[in-house]
């Protein structure tokens, strides 16, 4: 087990390294000239040069990369040789000169929104997805199964932005059931928080729930076809034990692991949903940074979200090992 864990962790570290490298150099191909962007109307080549220097764009990319990475661990100081140096403590994901703020601060500001969006959506879809999935598996072939699967199919066929827009059109504009989404934290104004998040949650949940219904259904059917379930029955075990102890443990793991990854992905920011409901989450931040070609910010967000997924991957693998001895031993 220990050896396995070590292997996976090392794997993750390697991956993270590759990640930073790729991201960093990918985005060094960005078209806009960040120096020019920070330079307003009265912009002379001299000033652009100056800004390029103080954005540290005038040093070779490999060195920029080194500074970036060391910044993550030891922090760094920007525009050192200007009269107003900017301190950025570790972990320093960079400094957005367009917004005069540390990237980490910006991310920290947006993170809660995405967090609530993700968690709410996650719970909704897990509950709905699993229950309906199991139901339709047990009722396989009956009309209820067909209905549920029909809904699921449509649910995951529709593009999420279309679902979101339709929801806005009817619920907010046409029926005036909810006010326009206006972000607030649950502690400040719970009522408005729920009113704001309801549709985003539904939008996200629709997509995933549909997927999880199908996954769960297939899993259940799959597992009940397994020989060892037949064995368990042949042993004369009560059906309850057969289902709970034998079927569930084996059947649920793929679902749990998938859920882990999806949640991680979502925590990285639901670009489209946040966009549609104008929620100030990581997704919106990401889009904003792309539009303003705020290089440090884009890099920071990409790294963070990707790291989240890689980390979730690790957790999931370890989880597998805990559950399935074949992974763990021999």
């Amino acid at each position: 087990m220990a050896g396995y864990v070590v292997r996976r962790v090392l794997g993750m570290v390697l991956l993270l390294f590759l990640l930073t490298l790729t991201v960093f150099f990918l985005f060094n191909m960005m078209p806009a000239d960040p120096a020019r962007l920070t330079c307003g109307k009265a912009c002379s080549p001299a000033v652009i040069e100056a800004n390029r220097h103080h954005l540290e764009l005038d040093i070779p990319p490999i060195e920029q990369y080194q500074r970036f990475v060391s910044g993550i661990f030891f922090g760094r100081t920007f525009s050192k040789d200007t009269p107003r140096p900017i301190e950025c403590e570790a972990p320093c994901l960079g400094y957005s000169f367009l917004r005069n703020t540390e990237v980490l601060t910006l991310i920290a500001r947006a993170a809660p929104v995405t967090f609530w969006l993700a968690i709410g959506g996650f719970l909704t879809w897990m509950v709905v997805g699993l229950t309906l999935g199991i139901v339709s598996a047990l009722k396989r072939g009956r009309w209820i199964d067909r209905t549920i699967m029909g809904i699921a199919l449509i649910g995951y066929s529709l593009p999420s932005f279309f679902i979101g827009l339709v929801l806005i059109f009817f619920v907010i504009l046409d029926w005036n059931l909810l006010p326009f989404p206006q972000w607030t934290t649950p502690d400040k104004d719970l009522g408005r928080f729920v009113q704001t998040m309801l549709l985003p949650w539904i939008t996200i949940a629709t997509l995933y729930a549909a997927f999880y219904m199908r996954l769960t259904r297939n899993q259940v059917l799959e597992i009940f076809g397994e020989d060892y379930i037949r064995t368990a029955r042949a042993k004369g075990l009560p059906e309850r034990i057969v289902v709970v102890k034998h079927a569930l443990r084996a059947g649920l793991t793929p679902i749990v692991t998938a859920a882990g990854l999806d949640l991680a992905g979502l925590l990285g920011g639901a670009i489209i949903t946040e966009n549609i409901f104008s929620l100030p989450g990581l997704g919106s931040l990401a889009i904003g940074s792309v539009l303003a070609s705020d290089l440090p910010l884009i890099t920071g967000i990409t790294l963070l979200t990707a790291a989240l997924i890689i980390f979730a991957n690790l957790i999931v693998d370890l989880l597998y090992a805990v559950i399935d001895p074949r992974v763990r031993v021999g």
Binding site: G40, A42, V47, R99, F180, W183, S293
Partner: protein, 605 residues
């Protein structure tokens, strides 16, 4: 939000509004009719007493997620300056608060006791500060603070984005370009932080008691307008040790010398900017700011569609809110009967008026060097479709140059569409004549790419450009660019294409702030890459002309010349529509910045 209208405002903020506006007489040419906004004439509405106006909070809804720049020397976005100027950032001179554009554009003393006095040659200007002006900590605002503020403009390694008229006009030699970091600085004076060349600056800007004197390197007849821009005071750290000039201070919380001070500033969608009364502001020292509301609260990151909905509903707080931006196209028909008249429901809270900007297409005169080719492009363009696409009558009038009628005397019709290009050209373009012009050019028309900051509306505008020029056999490819990156890209010679979208407004009511920036390198907004020495000389000559009427004539001619050579293709003289809650007054577009008259606004019970 790439494709959301929301980005329109952002694009304007980043692009167009590097120029500030001062509109003179509301125009009055056949192509457009002046509209004094939809506010209720003073006579009809029962005027509340001064006392009853006091108190309350005015909310400002904006789609921006933070200020572009809040630093007195860096702020350069029209609406922002109007707001800061009315609340926390006083200058030597200011504009008058009036519904009438003419009156509004006349200068009035602010920090200074008068609107400044020039010597005979107009290359030396002095202003005397009022007594009793204080900073928010109660300490006196002194001449050195104004001087220190101006000096910061020269530190162009840290003070970026801001207006640089101080560098252009003050009598300090520009930087002898040498090796190394020196090349960074525009002037021989490196600004207060570095300090190099401090003596030169001290000679150019002299404080004598309460009187500050500026020595200029050329005659500037309207320098007292210039000082409204980037000349605001900043506490001189040597005199105000507890009012430091630090990065986070001036990017997030500059010190106030106006009736309000910054209580809280959180950026981003959901963030807000809260102003509360500055107890140390002394009303006697401020003749132009009645400072009615107790608080101003700016709410950031509000989706324009949502903004419209909230203001149209005008419930709760929203009744005390004004919009920072424009009414979205889909709601125009709901709010207005026509560009002059709001619908009854919005009679006393919607305004439609000419904004300060001329929209135009720049043409890289190096890439499209043949003037006939440029004329062909102008002739072929379906300007009528473009206007319709951006809102028809609500989008404003078709433009005939870069100088906009509401600037006043500097405007004259260029006749661009009535024969200047050889023959009259209909609003929807004349492909045949365009082909003819290409014939005459003797060269094949090059294939073109049209750069534009992407919004859904402008995606359709792109379609119009491609289609209408295509009718004249000019092959165009549209190249959408994320609004935030737009000017970064089109100013980069390697990445800019043949022509593209742009907009510009003057910095004060003098076309020197239009023609010079747009068509000379020194001006800094020369996307058309015009390198014509004669033209540069003519501009210099015009700037130096002290007789305003004569100067106006020269601007008119240069405007006409630029159009004849088609440095740019003017599209529309923009009209913009704004909306306020039911309980905010007064409602009109304040000409100087094409903004709300923040300083005089109040809430009704």
């Amino acid at each position: 939000m790439l494709r959301s209208d929301a980005w329109l405002r952002r694009a304007l903020a980043i692009g167009v509004t590097f120029g500030l506006i001062v509109a003179a007489s509301g125009g009055g040419t056949p192509t457009q009719s002046p509209t004094g906004g939809a506010s209720v004439p003073p006579g009809e509405s029962a005027q509340p007493t001064e006392e009853s106006k006091k108190g309350g909070t005015i909310y400002i809804l904006t789609q921006a997620e933070e200020w572009d720049d809040i630093d007195p020397q860096r702020a350069y976005t029209g609406e922002d300056l109007a707001f800061f100027g009315g609340t926390i950032m006083r200058a030597l001179t200011a504009y008058t608060y009036s519904e009438e554009a003419v009156t509004a554009n006349t200068l009035t003393p602010d920090l200074a006791t008068d609107t400044g006095t020039a010597n005979a040659t107009a290359d030396e200007w002095s202003f005397t500060l009022r007594d009793g002006v204080t900073w928010e900590d109660g300490s006196d605002l002194v001449c050195e603070d104004v001087k220190y503020g101006v000096s910061r403009t020269f530190a162009n390694d840290v003070i970026t984005n801001g207006p640089t008229y101080a560098v252009q006009y003050l009598d300090i030699p520009s930087n002898p370009v040498t090796e190394g970091d020196d090349a960074v600085f525009l002037s021989a004076y490196y600004g207060p932080y570095n300090g190099t060349g401090q003596d030169l600056f001290d000679q150019a800007v002299v404080c004598d008691g309460n009187t500050i004197t500026f020595h200029l390197n050329q005659p500037v007849a309207d320098f007292n307008y210039t000082v409204t821009l980037g000349f605001s005071p900043v506490p001189d750290p040597t005199i105000h040790p507890d009012l430091p000039d630090a990065v986070d201070q001036y990017t997030l919380r500059p010190w106030s010398n106006g009736p309000y001070k910054i209580e809280e500033y959180t950026q981003g969608n959901g963030g807000h900017f809260l102003l509360t009364r500055n107890e140390n502001w002394n009303a006697e020292s401020d003749p132009i700011r009645p400072a009615y509301p107790d608080r101003w609260e700016v709410l950031f990151g509000i989706d324009p569609k949502v903004m419209d909905q909230r203001l149209m509903a005008s419930q709760g707080e929203d009744a005390y809110a004004v919009m920072y931006g424009n009414v979205q196209p889909e709601n125009l028909a709901t709010v207005f009967v026509d560009p002059e008249t709001p619908t009854p429901d919005f009679a006393d809270r919607a305004v439609s008026d000419y904004d300060p900007y001329s929209r135009y297409y720049w043409i890289d005169t190096n890439k499209v060097s043949n003037v006939k080719h440029r004329q062909a492009m102008a002739a072929a363009l379906d300007r009528d479709a473009i206007r319709a696409n951006s809102g028809g009558d609500f989008a404003g009038a078709l433009g005939d140059g870069v100088i906009k009628p509401n600037i006043g005397q500097d405007y004259a019709e260029t006749g661009m569409w009535t024969g200047l290009l050889g023959q009259a050209i209909p609003d929807n373009g004349d492909p045949d004549y365009a082909r003819q012009l290409i014939e005459e050019s003797g060269e094949p028309m090059p294939a073109l790419t049209w750069d534009y900051p992407q919004t859904p509306t402008r995606d359709q505008e792109a379609a119009i450009v491609v289609d209408s020029l295509g009718k004249a056999g000019i092959q165009v490819t549209a190249n959408p660019i994320p609004p935030g990156q737009y000017y970064g890209i089109v100013f980069n010679d390697d990445q800019a294409h043949e022509f593209g979208w742009a907009g510009w407004g003057p910095d004060w009511p003098n076309a020197s702030t239009v023609i010079a920036p747009l068509f000379t390198d020194k001006g800094g907004w020369n996307i058309s890459r015009v390198h014509d020495q004669d033209f540069v000389d003519a501009v210099q000559d015009a700037i130096a002309t002290l007789d305003r009427a004569e100067q106006a004539k020269k601007w008119q001619d240069l405007n006409k010349l630029a159009m004849e050579r088609v440095y740019v293709i003017p599209t529309t003289f923009g009209l913009s529509q704004v909306l306020a809650g039911t309980k905010v007054k007064p409602i009109y577009q304040w000409a100087p910045w094409g903004s709300w008259p923040y300083a005089v606004m109040y809430v009704t019970p």
